[in-house]
């Protein structure tokens, strides 16, 4: 037997490992900041009331950082390590590996440099602007190309199950990212989603849900199938189960997106499909979890001593909990309580902190001593990290479960006379304060643990020397790809990566096609409402400010057809109301009340004062003050381009309207400014005469956002004269 010598690239694994830790700590820190903003809003308001630190802008930074920077780098770290060894082949292109590494870090830096400054496309978990989206697609393809090229020149015959998960991750995330990111650029820093309203919502949650499935789950399952057997030093419990797990999971997951839109204006059939497939998901998810846990059968004694196994057991347990809870939350009767509350936040953090976080920590503790050829600097400290992190998860999740359940029920309470028990939304928020304190403490503990790990890993690295190129050898094999007559079909497929990728793509595309195409093409799915008209130029600019400030992070724009919702907020939302909303802004969490019928509810002067000092106008409010909107002039320099972009997307502005839009904008702004000044007490004018005050405020951003707020949900109230 001829033996070939080669080496594995450990340096790229080391790079991604450091990036995982550094961005992980950063993302968690931003998470802690926004958690404390809800717990101590007064402090932030008084001392840190900067626009770039406001909750609506930082929350997308937190989600993007932990998903794409922490978990993203974690995926690459694990894949670059395991892929080389499973294929007995060095990565195909060293330069390509490092191009991928630096390209991905550059994308993260772009996110940090744009999101806090309000440069966002306003779609949850896909906030990055169009040119960053292109960079993401490019870097994703670079990674995929490198992976496939390596698979094609491999020295083993079969592709282990972990690699299937990597392949499915690659094709599905590419598909999701591209379809969800169809945007029409207006300028370098501004774009509009090509989809509108209910269609945008469906595509967005098809993406959003499957970002969880194919970015946070399938690649990590791949890592689990490699690293758990490796750490336990025994093969996976059932390889047969892993095949069923894989195909069932990728087939079913893609359908579940609409469970994020229950009771919304999405067609009923699509909602029901989402629920059915979400419930079915329990089976493959638990199959995978049990397969992981049972791999440790007969090795449970080692779990007591091996810190990596401890992290893995908690990770798998959290995976089991969140994949049991997910289907539960997709049932309409549970969703009616949980949706828009902190329950969802608890759910995602059991998955994020528990499954992704703990698995990543386990991997890091295992990898560092391996690639640095040394022992872990302090096993004791790693054990302390384990307990601190576990306690952190508990202190995070339990208060949020209670908060969510409590608030969800409070919104539903009725008095015997048919009025709401808690008509004041703010009261239900203030009840949650103690839980927000506890959640911040949980987050703090988790962050402290991660910092301890960082220290421990750096010390470990310093005590050893990086084995940048690890020598390996494998048998030279010929004719790897020849099939035998009568061979088992899966054996053939798993040997042919390209066919395997195509089959995976077909499997995941079926769900997307069946759900999305009918929604896009069937006119009856979005009944038009004749009184719904395009936004005026000022409202459009105001809406862009709403997107810039990330208002959707705390306010929904979707009233569900439920009695307790319509009594509180008014007529339930209709899909025809959102046909000009590029992108949709339904939101997924109500830290503040729903705004779908805000238009005309309050006076202009109320909004003007409320945005300046929310806590004065609404005592006890936890909303940040948006003082900069009162100081900064509205930027109308690209208004004409925005109008033309909207026309391209099918919004029926009259031909040539881009040229006269600014005139209309000024006129409407003037009217609002006059109304505000007329209703301002003389003492508050600070010696200015009314005309001067009107002139001062009519060009400010605040006027535009008020125009938008006053328009929201008003179209269907318009009375049409009878013929």
């Amino acid at each position: 037997m001829e033996v070939e010598k080669f080496s594995y690239d450990n340096k790229i694994v080391r790079n991604f490992a450091y990036a995982t830790v550094i961005w992980g700590v950063t993302g968690m820190l931003v998470g802690l900041i926004i958690a404390t903003q809800l717990a101590f809003p007064e402090f932030y308001n008084d001392y840190l009331g900067f626009s770039f630190l406001s909750f609506g802008r930082l929350r997308p930074l937190h989600t993007n950082a932990v998903i794409f920077a922490f978990v993203g780098n974690g995926i690459y770290m694990g894949v670059y390590y395991s892929l080389q060894r499973l294929l007995k082949t060095r990565m195909w292109g060293d330069k390509l590996s490092y191009f991928h590494f630096w390209g991905w870090q550059f994308i993260i830096v772009c996110a940090v440099a744009t999101l806090p400054f309000g440069i966002t496309s306003g779609k949850e978990y896909a906030e990055l602007e169009w040119w960053i989206d292109i960079l993401i697609a490019l870097m994703w393809v670079v990674w995929g190309f490198n992976m496939f090229a390596t698979i094609l020149v491999r020295r083993v015959q079969h592709l282990y199950v972990a690699i299937w998960f990597y392949i499915a991750t690659f094709v599905t995330v590419a598909m999701l990212h591209i379809f969800n990111s169809f945007e029409l650029p207006v300028s370098f820093f501004k774009s509009y989603s090509v989809y509108a309203g209910v269609q945008d919502a469906l595509v967005q949650w098809w993406y959003g849900h499957n970002a969880v499935a194919f970015f946070l789950t399938t690649p990590y399952l791949g890592l689990m199938y490699y690293f758990v057997p490796k750490a336990a030093n025994r093969p996976v419990y059932s390889y047969r189960l892993s095949i069923i797990h894989f195909w069932a999971l990728i087939f079913i997951y893609i359908w579940a997106g609409p469970h994020h839109l229950l009771y919304s204006t999405l067609p009923d059939w699509a909602q029901s499909l989402g629920v059915v497939f979400s419930v079915m998901l329990i089976a493959p998810s638990w199959g995978g979890m049990l397969n992981g846990l049972l791999t440790l059968r007969g090795a449970w004694d080692r779990v007591r001593d091996d810190v990596m196994l401890k992290f893995m057991v908690v990770a798998l347990t959290c995976y089991g909990m969140s994949t049991f809870e997910g289907p539960l939350l997709s049932l309409k009767n549970v969703n009616v309580i949980s949706h828009f509350t902190d329950w969802t936040i608890a759910h995602v953090h059991v998955g994020g902190l528990g499954w992704n976080g703990m698995l990543t920590f386990g991997l890091l503790y295992w990898l560092f001593p391996k690639i640095y050829r040394t022992n872990l600097y302090s096993t004791k400290m790693a054990n302390q990290h384990f307990w601190i992190a576990t306690l952190g998860i508990i202190l995070y999740a339990i208060p949020m479960y209670i908060a969510g359940f409590m608030q969800g029920l409070m919104w539903q309470d009725f008095n015997p006379d048919g009025t709401l028990t808690n008509p004041d939304f703010l009261k239900t928020v203030n009840e949650l304060r103690p839980f927000y304190y506890l959640r911040s403490l949980g987050g703090l503990l988790y962050l402290v643990g991660a910092i301890m790990m960082f220290y421990n890993l750096v010390k470990t690295a310093k005590s050893g020397v990086l084995l940048a190129n690890e020598d390996a050898e494998a048998a030279v094999t010929k004719n790897l790809h020849v099939s035998h007559k009568g061979e088992y079909w899966h054996k053939v497929i798993e040997r042919k990566p390209i066919q395997f990728m195509v089959l995976s793509l077909v499997v995941v595309a079926i769900g997307g096609i069946a759900e999305i195409i009918p929604t896009l093409i069937v006119k009856e799915n979005v009944p038009t409402i004749s009184t719904v008209k395009p936004y005026t130029p000022l409202e459009l600019e105001g809406r862009d400010l709403y997107i810039r400030e990330g208002c959707y992070n705390c306010h929904s724009q979707l009233i569900r057809p439920l009695r307790f919702e319509t009594v509180r907020y008014g007529e339930y939302s209709k899909s025809g109301e959102f046909v000009y909303d590029h992108p949709f802004q339904w939101g997924s969490k109500r830290t503040g009340p729903d705004l779908a019928r805000e238009g005309g509810l309050r006076s202009n002067i109320w909004h003007y004062q409320h945005m300046y000092r929310p806590k004065v106008v609404s005592p006890g409010s936890i909303m940040p003050a948006y003082t900069w909107m009162h100081d900064d002039d509205l930027d109308v320099s690209i208004l004409d381009r925005k109008i033309r972009a909207m026309q391209t997307l099918g919004v029926p502005y009259p031909k040539g309207y881009d040229k006269i839009a600014l005139k209309d904008l000024r006129k409407q702004a003037h009217e609002i400014a006059v109304d505000i000044v007329e209703n301002t007490p003389k003492s508050a004018l600070k010696g200015l005469n009314k005309q001067a005050k009107i002139k001062e405020i009519e060009k400010k951003e605040i006027i535009a956002i008020i125009a938008y707020l006053q328009r929201m949900g008003k179209d269907i109230k318009v009375k049409v004269p009878k013929k």
């Binding site: 020295r155 090509v194 390996a472 094999t477 088992y488 096609i513 069946a514 093409i521």
Partner: protein, 64 residues
């Protein structure tokens, strides 16, 4: 961009059958996978599940 797809698909009747067909495809596909998996040879299963642990020279592969 979507207009092109829309135009071609609007003529398709009974679009409501899409989800049912897809569900059917899944059930059939799932049953096939389960049936075939149960018929896998034990030796092959062991060979595959040992892949991550097999860091030494791979002697399992013979020149075919």
């Amino acid at each position: 961009m979507l207009r092109f797809i829309k135009y071609n698909l609007e003529s398709i009747g009974s679009v409501e059958w899409y989800p049912l067909f897809s569900l059917l495809i899944f059930v059939v596909f799932f049953i096939i996978v389960v049936l075939r998996v149960t018929k896998m040879s034990k030796a092959h299963v062991i060979e595959l599940s040992d892949l991550p642990l097999n860091d030494k020279i791979d002697t399992n592969i013979k020149d075919l």
